[in-house]
């Protein structure tokens, strides 16, 4: 299998302005030198806590946020070199599903307009066959086509997320960034949407970057999982391997922090002290060292390099160097 998407040393630094003249006083390293690739038809899970840079990273792969440095190779081409016209030609092949189905759909558009707009713009439908195409799309995501003239506020959260998924599918994309697509949904609806995403992925051979803070959800549907902490990927491995043989102390803590569903096996003593530090002023060396139970002297000073534990398990941690 070949890589559909490959990112190399991708960086995004946001400037911090202060004072009367809005001088740049600092940089927030939201994403700091991240590299990985996603194979065609693969689901790569990207997990981490709020502020770790996972959303910024996801959007940079679509060039919705312009990277500060690095490369984004989509189907072999570096899209960061593309001009606007070339970008518009490639956009239909890359799409995004947002977390919040309440704020990501235009409240003044009917479902038909929401789904039809991009198809008309990109010439994938004509005025004549638009209704037919919209109906097929709605059926595909489990919405009744008779709702096509309704507005987003007339739907429940789960149905709205189905509209968001249909919108992403409208142009037959190859690659979809799913940015916390089930986090705002109730448990029973979450299961429906996860099933739908998995079914669509298999039927259409989609490649997904699945961003979530919920390790159980990522474990359920992704082939490989990358863990981020303060702008850096700290571990990347096939999902089962990551769950069973997590190497990075942060990954182990995240796994241990999941509340267990068995009331007879109770855990106390939270696995990690403290909180994620501010990305404006991250700790030196390995960003995780102040919270790490296994921190050593040089963790404070040296940024750990990537270590391959085996052919497909990578970790950034001094324990393994």
């Amino acid at each position: 299998m070949t890589a559909l998407l490959e990112i190399q040393s991708l960086k995004k630094y946001f400037p911090v302005h202060s004072g009367v003249f809005q001088k740049v006083v600092a940089q927030v390293r939201a994403v700091d030198d991240v590299s990985f690739s996603i194979k065609k038809g693969e689901i790569l899970g990207l997990v981490g806590e709020s502020g770790c840079g996972k959303t910024t990273l996801g959007r940079m792969t679509l060039r919705l946020i312009e990277p500060t440095g690095g490369k984004v190779l989509f189907e072999g081409q570096d899209i960061l070199q593309f001009d606007k016209k070339a970008m518009n030609l490639i956009r239909p092949r890359m799409q995004i599903i947002f977390q919040d189905p309440y704020s990501s759909l235009n409240p003044r558009f009917t479902v038909k307009q929401i789904l039809g707009e991009s198809m008309l713009v990109h010439g994938q439908a004509t005025r004549q066959d638009l209704t037919e195409k919209v109906e097929a799309l709605m059926t595909r995501v489990g919405l009744s086509p008779e709702y096509q003239n309704r507005y987003p506020h007339e739907f429940s959260g789960g149905q709205r997320q189905r509209v968001g998924i249909a919108r992403a599918l409208a142009l037959n994309p190859h690659y979809i960034v799913c940015d916390e697509p089930v986090s705002a949904l109730d448990v029973s609806i979450q299961a429906q949407i996860i099933n739908l995403l998995m079914e669509l992925q298999a039927d259409l051979n989609l490649t997904l970057l699945f961003i979530s803070h919920d390790l159980n959800v990522v474990k359920h549907l992704s082939n490989r999982t990358a863990v981020m902490y303060l702008g850096r990927v700290v571990e990347l491995a096939p999902t089962l391997k990551l769950n069973e043989h997590a190497a990075h102390p942060y990954t182990r803590a995240l796994l241990a922090a999941r509340p267990n569903l068995d009331p007879r096996q109770r855990k106390r003593n939270a696995p990690l002290p403290g909180e994620v530090p501010s990305p404006m002023n991250p700790p030196s060396g390995c960003h995780f060292h102040p919270r790490c139970p296994e921190a050593m002297g040089h963790c404070r000073t040296e940024t750990p390099k990537m270590v391959a534990l085996d052919e497909d398990h990578f970790v950034h941690c001094h324990l393994y160097t």
Binding site: E49, V187, N216, H220, R258, L261, L272, E275, V276
Partner: protein, 332 residues
């Protein structure tokens, strides 16, 4: 033994443009000293309205109580005057809200906000109140508590704000703490810290906790008993082990089954359909349109309480499946 809190047949409704929304219907619950009761359910099921009813924080109008009593240490909270209720709120019953970001006042220091609670309810000096605020910040394990007293909420992280909220809620040593989704806005590693803290406070002071959450993992880890709500009604209640090991109501079973399991990439079980609109509840059992086991009486009559297992008398379920006289249709 009498209960610390006993909610009896509570009904809370709201008059809206869409008609009367009966958010809480015939809810009965008890909570003993030192116990944690989890109230679980999906958004809109009435769990927060139940908690706000106990605190008498329902805006009226449009809200109104339609039935029931809320007995707290033997007094019916629904009959207290507002002045009497103010002496209960923050003093005997503390509450933590979901969003620590919006529940703290941004223009007062953390110390001032905790002191305000103490000065409001106790006859003590400024110095003593400040000392108490410091003690509370220490008890919720905030790093460098002396410095925090004079900081403003925006200077604190999310987890620290939730610790400050907790410090405020327990400053007067309440007998009951209502925690409404206390960790939903927090990261998983911080979530575990806050829940461990609440559990430790409960053990140290024999405070009771009414824990409202939609996270079943949290319920399994921290609750003694569980009440499951659906469309304003409690549908199942029992000890935490009974609920997780032998859930009886089809809704509880559906919720537990829809969680991702050990077997990755398998199709998840789902509950078909969605929660009914609260102003247009179906007749009979509100869950029947989504229930795989619905049969004729479910569509007609609201189920009463049944005890499925004689060995587990505290485990009760509001579902016609467990009606011993199920062969004949039951009328209310």
């Amino acid at each position: 033994m009498s209960h610390l809190l006993s909610i009896e047949n509570l009904g809370t409704c709201f008059d809206t443009d869409d008609g009367v929304v009966q958010s809480v219907r015939q809810v009965s619950l008890t909570l003993d000293a030192g116990e944690t009761l989890a109230l679980v359910g999906e958004s809109g099921c009435g769990k927060s309205v139940t908690a706000l009813s106990v605190m008498r924080l329902i805006p009226m109008p449009p809200g109104r109580f339609t039935s029931g009593r809320i007995l707290f240490s033997g007094r019916n909270l629904l009959e207290l005057t507002e002045a009497e209720m103010q002496r209960v709120r923050g003093n005997q019953i503390g509450m933590i809200f979901q969003e620590p970001m919006t529940s703290l006042n941004p223009i007062f220091t953390v110390g001032d906000q905790i002191m305000e609670v103490v000065l409001r309810h106790e006859n003590i000096s400024q110095q003593q109140a400040r000392a108490r605020a410091l003690e509370m910040l220490k008890r919720v394990a905030i790093p460098s508590p002396e410095a925090r007293l004079d900081q403003y909420p925006h200077e604190l992280s999310g987890g620290m704000k939730q610790r400050v909220m907790t410090a405020m809620a327990i400053a007067c040593q309440p007998q009951l703490l209502i925690a409404d989704e206390p960790t939903t806005a927090l990261d998983v590693t911080v979530q575990a810290q806050i829940l461990d803290l609440l559990d430790k406070l409960r053990q140290d002071t024999r405070m009771s906790i009414l824990l409202i959450t939609h996270n079943l993992g949290i319920v399994a880890q921290y609750a003694d008993r569980v009440a499951v709500m659906y469309s304003g009604k409690i549908v199942e209640e029992g000890p935490v082990t009974s609920i997780f090991e032998s859930p009886q109501h089809p809704y509880t079973q559906g919720l537990l089954n829809s969680l991702p399991k050990e077997d990755p990439r398998a199709k998840l079980e789902t509950i078909p359909g969605m929660v009914p609109h609260p102003a247009r509840l179906p007749r009979g059992c509100a869950f029947h349109p989504r229930c795989p086991e619905a049969h004729p009486p479910c569509r007609e009559t609201v189920p009463g309480w049944f005890t499925p297992s004689p060995e587990d008398p505290e485990h009760r379920v509001a579902c016609w499946l467990y009606d011993p006289s199920r062969t004949q249709p039951v009328s209310s």
